[in-house]
Assembly symmetry: C3
Homo-oligomer: 207 residues x 3
């Protein structure tokens, strides 16, 4: 069932593996909405990423159980992993609905939001890498600040997108579909910010 | 106020009591949608189950406070109880909305989903019973796997139900009502899966 | 950036500061819906409260990190603060949407709900004050019971408001907007109840 990575890995490898999946899923989602005629292939890839994410979480729980001394609080390790998995789940849910609700074309807003998500996921990956050596954080704070700014931007965009949707559409079912897709996408961006907050808490406790 | 069970009970009794309420509430919900003309009586029963659930959670917190040595991590006991209460709350919310929104008849999809919920709740009860003796788990893993499969099925059904609803209805308010009822029902099934995950974590730590 | 309070404060000062912001935000929200022509000013104030809330949470996390002996469990301190911040966030989200969705006038239901929120926030403030001296709780239990009753009332109101909205409106987009605003407002009231539950747990552990 589970076979995407070698058995013997440390927590940092697992974090980076999860961050890579987050990034790949975000990238695939951006490709879905940018290159909509080829969406089916990317949506299947995202579904696979969702399974991969579950595997990494599962692997982390097993490792937590077998490991006496962990690099950070067990709870923080668990939360960090859970949040990365949540990002992937939200992306999977959003992309699935594009197909399920037979959305014929993406909106400019969803393209913008997917781009913000990619940028935030990239920063998450860079922040997670810096967990290996918190004594040399090497610009970590700056990454976290940028993730917060992107979340604010995503929030503003989401508000504008929904306000515009409600103000212009004549088809309420269409509005319901897009409201849900916009909200799921924004939630993926929010979870990236929760990751930044968790990393900040880990830094506080470990430096 | 609270009088449904004798005072002196152990944690396992409390778990099983909660699981029984989960199961009874699921069963009542399935009866609501299968035998819709008699729904009022079942919806009142569910409301009572919701109170009973609150009592068991409260009793568990009191017991946790008074007990020095607990069979599992305090946190896990708390989470497990909270999740069982959540299942009941979602069922209560869903069934209430059928009345409140003056839904005239159930859909085939909600009948299917309520049946999945009953099956999952039955498995939750069987899994919870096995917590008493984790050295003789007696097919526990198989129960947990089945709960996961049912959650997947519930998820797929929910997607199909909502897609069909949006594709066929001409009444957007009708669509809004059912979207909410479908989602609440699916969330009850999801919480059963969260229970399975929590039991899995308890097993990991205690064997 | 952050400057609303002096640096050297204890946990109880931080709790009370957060409770004051919760209360002020609720009051501003009630003013928005009661005196709708002057809403813009109050909505800006609420946005500022939202920032203030973030500051207090941040300050609490820093203090937790630097403090070896805390008055209650670290986890409970964190949860209590997080929940007060959540109340403020829900109020901010609800009030923003009134402007964003170009709602021309408030409904009688939202005025009722905002009043319940103010009453619940007042009780939260009174309950939080009593955390300083749990040996002289001075009517704390009564406050917590009242918060629960208000939550029940808020829940009933929300049901009636949405049922009426769906039964009477001919404009589904209008219904979608109000459904979201009602739900956000109810969630603010719910979070007050979660605060009461958290305080109850703190009392249990510390008396």
């Amino acid at each position: 069932l589970f076979s995407i990575m070698p058995r013997d890995t440390g927590f940092f490898d697992l974090f980076e593996r999860a961050a890579t999946i987050v990034h790949d899923a975000s990238q695939a989602y951006a490709t879905v909405v940018r290159d909509y005629s080829k969406r089916d292939e990317q949506i299947s890839r995202i579904r696979q990423f969702e399974h991969d994410g579950d595997e990494v979480v599962h692997r982390t729980l097993e490792k937590l159980d077998k490991t006496f001394i962990t690099p950070f609080d067990r709870e923080d390790i668990h939360v960090l992993m859970k949040l990365m998995d949540d990002v992937i789940d939200e992306i999977d849910a959003a992309s699935k609905r594009l197909a399920l609700y037979q959305i014929h074309e993406p909106t400019p807003w969803i393209i913008k939001q997917a781009e913000i998500l990619v940028r935030s996921s990239t920063l998450v990956g860079e922040a997670v890498k810096r967990l290996r050596n918190l004594r040399k954080p090497n610009g970590l704070q700056q990454k976290l600040v940028e993730i917060h700014l992107l979340e604010n931007m995503g929030d503003e965009n989401n508000h504008s997108a929904v306000a515009e949707l409600y103000a212009t559409t004549k088809d309420p079912i269409f509005a319901m579909k897009w409201k849900e897709i916009y909200d799921l996408t924004e939630r993926a961006i929010d979870r990236c910010e929760d990751i930044a907050n968790t990393i900040e808490a880990i830094v506080l406790k470990n430096t």
